[in-house]
C-alpha cells in the first residue's frame, strides 16, 4: 500500500512538474505557427521562392554521389 501511495505521489509530482513545460511548449509552437503563417501570407512570393530554392538545394545534395 505504501509503495503504491509513493508511486502515485511521484506520478503526481512528475505531472505537476512537466505539465507547465508542456503547456509552454504548446504555446510556443502555436505562436511559431501563427508567425510563419502570417509571414507566408504577407510575403507569398518570397516564401514560395525560398521553398523552391530549398527544394532545389535538397535535390542537389540528395542526388550527389557520395
Amino acid at each position: 500500500m505504501e509503495t503504491s501511495q509513493q508511486l502515485t505521489d511521484k506520478a503526481r509530482e512528475l505531472q505537476a512538474r512537466i505539465a507547465p513545460q508542456i503547456e509552454e511548449a504548446r504555446k510556443n509552437l502555436s505562436d511559431l505557427n501563427t508567425r510563419i503563417s502570417t509571414y507566408v501570407r504577407q510575403n507569398p512570393g518570397t516564401s514560395l521562392l525560398a521553398a523552391l530554392a530549398a527544394g532545389f538545394l535538397i535535390a542537389k545534395i540528395a542526388s550527389r554521389r557520395w
Partner: protein, 135 residues
Amino acid sequence: MPETTQSTQSNGTGNGADHRGLGERVDHINQSAQELWNEAQGAVTQLRETLDLQGRVDRHPYGMLLAAAGVGYVLGGGLFSRFTGSLVRLGFRVAALPFVKQELLNIAKGALQNAGGRRDAGQTAAAPVEPPKTV
C-alpha cells in the same frame, strides 16, 4: 547663285522630311513598345488571376510551401535519386502497415482458434468413454 540657293532649299526640305520620317518612326517604335508593355502587363495579371497564388497561399500556406519545395526538388533533379527511392519505399511501408497489421491479427486469431479447437478435441478424446450398458 540661283543654283546654290535652290540646292540649299532642296537640301533643307530633304532634311526636314528625313527628320519628320525619323520622328514618326521613333513615335511608332515608342507606341509599339508601350503596347507591348501593356500586353505583357495584362498577360501577367491574367496569369496571376488564373493561378490565384495569393488566394491559394492564404488558404493553405504550408501546402503551398510544400508544393513549391516539391517543384524545386524536381527541378533540382532529385526525382530519380537514391534518396527519393528510399523515401518512396518508406512511404509504401508506412502505407502498407495497417494492412499488414490486419493480416497479422487475422493470422493470430486463426491460429488461436485452431489451438483452441485442438485442445477441445484432445479433451474430448481423453475423456473416459462410458461402456455400453448391457441389458
